[in-house]
């Protein structure tokens, strides 16, 4: 009659280091690039031929290069801030390649690779980070919402969007990307509640990159994050997030469930943020070189390259071609970034409302008069001060 004798199910406790073993996960491609088998998952990537694998590799290499360029642009003062994704290429590219164009993505601020795979224009990547716009792209064009900065808020948006899909009766899906730290916010749990209750066609994609700024994942949970989903009645998978094949397989499984009325799925992709939280962060304050070295040995790109080479699908020339392509993409992003025009001062009042608004319209008018003083010295009195 006893479902659980409470006294035996003892929970782990946070230690100084993350308490979570980073190894209990599904893996299809080991760090050396060897294909390993995982029953229930293998068939979901069986269709990937050399071309498809190369496409994954190309996107990962390119975005890795573009990410580094963005960091450089920040160092050079061309953009204000950058949250690097380095280390998370497989988690992002693998999941993005599983999506259909008509699925819809709700992400955090770090999913540059997802946006890239969805057809991002180079000039749109850095608009936000250069401070010229509130969003880089048209969400409806990319099938991807404006990245979210309020931790976990987007998880609810994804569920709501999925509820909309249900009402429209299509077989699309929504996917929410969020971090390990985000799992602690109330919104993230409420999203699981709503998704489970309405069986919404949504995929919760948690990139557990081990850190929320300076806080190890063990501070958010004493056990695997994926297990949280089970508590809400949502099926879950925990995959090697540096293994692009495992990520893709899991995401395809989840999407298929969503499309066929099976409701939500939770994926924890175990990965690592190799760089700082953002360019404003100093990770040396909170983590060790050993930890970094350890994760360097599990690099997501190197292992896919090894697989491709072992399959004869990539040689040095091929790799150089892709590297050149990556350089070109980085150059395009740089060129686009530095030539982004500054926004018009009065655009500050645009789009606050969709409809005319007497209050904002008046403030615009007043501010226009104020600015005009500087254009026409003498007419406005004190215009000469500036």
């Amino acid at each position: 009659m006893t479902l659980s004798d409470g006294r035996d199910t003892d929970a782990h406790h946070r230690t100084d280091r993350p308490a979570q073993a980073a190894s209990e996960f599904v893996q299809l491609l080991d760090p050396d690039g060897a294909r390993v088998s995982a029953p229930g998952y293998d068939q979901w990537i069986a269709d990937l031929d050399d071309a498809a694998l190369l496409a994954l590799y190309r996107d990962m290499v390119v975005i890795h290069r573009v990410d580094a360029e963005a960091t450089a642009l920040q160092r050079q003062g061309e953009i204000g801030l950058w949250p690097p994704l380095a280390g998370q290429e497989a988690a992002q590219v693998g999941s993005a390649h599983a999506l259909r164009d008509d699925d819809f993505v709700f992400s955090s601020y770090r999913e540059h690779a997802v946006a890239w795979c969805r057809g991002l224009r180079p000039e749109d990547l850095l608009k936000v980070w250069r401070g010229v716009a509130g969003s880089g792209w048209d969400p409806y064009e990319l099938g991807m919402a404006t990245p979210q900065i309020i931790i976990a808020a987007q998880t609810l948006h994804a569920v709501g969007y999925a509820m909309g899909i249900q009402r429209d009766g299509t077989d699309q899906a929504a996917i929410a990307y969020f971090g390990d730290g985000a799992t602690s916010e109330g919104d993230a749990s409420e999203a699981l509640v709503f998704a489970a209750t309405y069986k919404a066609p949504v995929v919760f994609f948690c990139q557990n990159n081990q850190w929320a700024i300076s806080e190890p994942v063990g501070l958010q949970s004493p056990q695997h994050l994926a297990q949280r989903a089970a508590g809400f009645g949502i099926p879950w998978m925990r995959v090697d997030g540096n293994d692009v094949l495992a990520v893709m397989a899991a995401t395809r499984i989840a999407l298929e469930r969503a499309r066929t009325g099976g409701g939500p799925t939770y994926i924890e992709a175990v990965t690592y943020r190799m760089g700082p939280h953002t360019t404003a962060d100093d990770p040396k304050r909170y983590r060790t070189d050993e930890e970094l070295d350890d994760w360097r040995g599990r690099d997501p790109i190197a292992r896919l390259e090894a697989l491709l080479r072992s399959r004869g699908a990539l040689d040095d020339d091929g790799a150089s071609d892709i590297a050149r392509e990556a350089d070109a993409a980085a150059a395009a992003v740089r060129a686009a970034c530095v030539s982004l025009p500054d926004p018009e001062p009065l655009s500050i009042f645009d789009h606050v409302y969709a409809e005319p608004n007497s209050h904002v319209d008046r403030q615009r008018d007043h501010y226009a008069r104020y600015l005009a003083m500087f254009d026409e010295p003498g007419t406005g009195g004190e215009g000469g001060r500036a």
């Binding site: 509130g134 609810l156 969007y161 929504a174 919104d187 999203a191 709503f194």
Partner: protein, 336 residues
């Protein structure tokens, strides 16, 4: 014309919106089978089904946050917050998402949410059930904020709010839910005064009295009492708290030279502060006296047996009228 209570008028307005646009979706706690704790959504789930009228889990952030997602997908969500005091768990989604998404996306994503909030006191309720949180939202750029005061406006304005492409905080004066009035349910929406304009609830010449929600009736009663006393009060029903229809107030104040504002919310940083400051800016040379605010005290909403001392009533409003007229009043002789 039908005679409806304010609650019934809202129900009729919601029904009409559900009929007119199948992208309208109602979300809230207990709004389905129960028809809402005030029965404002009575019968709607029965008639429109549980994908249009949705009972949600107990989570206000969840209600607003999923509504944002629905709006992303092209729906027009109408969220019910059960009582004023329960809106705060949804505050982040309202302030950081609903209010900002249209601007954030340079106008690409619209947030035509309507967030219905029964508000105000006077019903002898326990804590958290009598609050007036509207000023938090009037201080939030990107939101529209309205309050209805009578059945006709309830019916019309809720439809206008739902039809608006901007997010609207829609405040319903809960102690007036049972007040009856004539409602023209067939009138064309296009013929109704726009949601953003204030209306004259009572013409007058000596003092301009501005209010909204449940206090509109109290203000009219005060005007009637003052008339017996030879004082002619013009009562303005604000209706829209953001943006405020300043031309209408200005026109009145230029005539009367005297302004009293009354609301149930606390004085400090309330809607009255903004109106007093703005009208002073706009009509300084017409003012015969400083604008007076008659409001709830700046205290947490008190226990039921004390709410009569918290809420502006006819006498307190008339004391304010006396103050702005320079007649003897409770602060006579008080400095500063």
């Amino acid at each position: 014309m039908s005679t409806l209570t304010l609650g019934q008028a809202l129900n009729a307005g919601l029904r009409r919106a559900l009929e007119d646009d199948d992208h309208v979706v109602l979300l809230g706690e207990d709004i389905g089978t129960l028809g809402g704790v005030f029965r404002v959504t009575d019968g709607l789930q029965r008639d429109f089904g549980d994908t249009r009228v949705v009972d949600t889990p107990l989570s206000e952030a969840g209600i607003i946050g999923t509504a944002v997602g629905l709006a992303y997908r092209g729906f027009r969500p109408v969220c019910e917050i059960q009582f004023d005091g329960f809106i705060y768990p949804g505050f982040d989604q309202i302030v950081a998402q609903v209010a900002k998404l249209h601007a954030r996306t340079q106008g690409r994503v619209r947030m035509p949410l309507t967030i219905r909030v029964p508000f105000g006191g006077g019903i002898g309720a326990v804590e958290h059930h009598s609050e007036s949180p509207e000023a938090y939202f009037t201080h939030t750029s990107g939101l529209r904020v309205v309050a209805c005061a009578n059945p006709q406006d309830a019916y019309t304005m809720v439809r206008q709010a739902i039809a608006s492409d901007d997010p609207v905080l829609f405040f319903e004066p809960k102690r007036r839910y049972h007040a009856k009035g004539e409602v023209d349910v067939d009138a064309d929406l296009a013929d109704a005064p726009p949601m953003g304009v204030a209306t004259l609830a009572q013409r007058g010449d000596d003092v301009t009295l501005v209010t909204y929600g449940a206090l509109v009736q109290v203000a009219r009663d005060a005007a009637a009492a003052a008339a017996d006393d030879g004082v002619s009060i013009e009562v303005i029903d604000l209706r829209s708290l953001s943006p405020v229809d300043y031309p209408t107030i200005e026109q009145s104040v230029r005539r009367t030279g005297r302004l009293v504002i009354t609301h149930e919310a606390g004085q400090q940083g309330g809607v009255g502060a903004e109106i007093a400051a703005s009208i002073t800016e706009r009509c300084f040379e017409f003012l015969e006296a400083a604008p007076v605010r008659i409001t709830g005290h700046d205290v947490p909403y008190p226990p039921a047996k004390l709410e009569q001392h918290h809420l502006p009533d006819l006498d307190r409003i008339l004391d304010g009228v006396d103050r702005v007229l320079g007649r003897p009043n409770s602060l006579t002789g008080v400095e500063g």
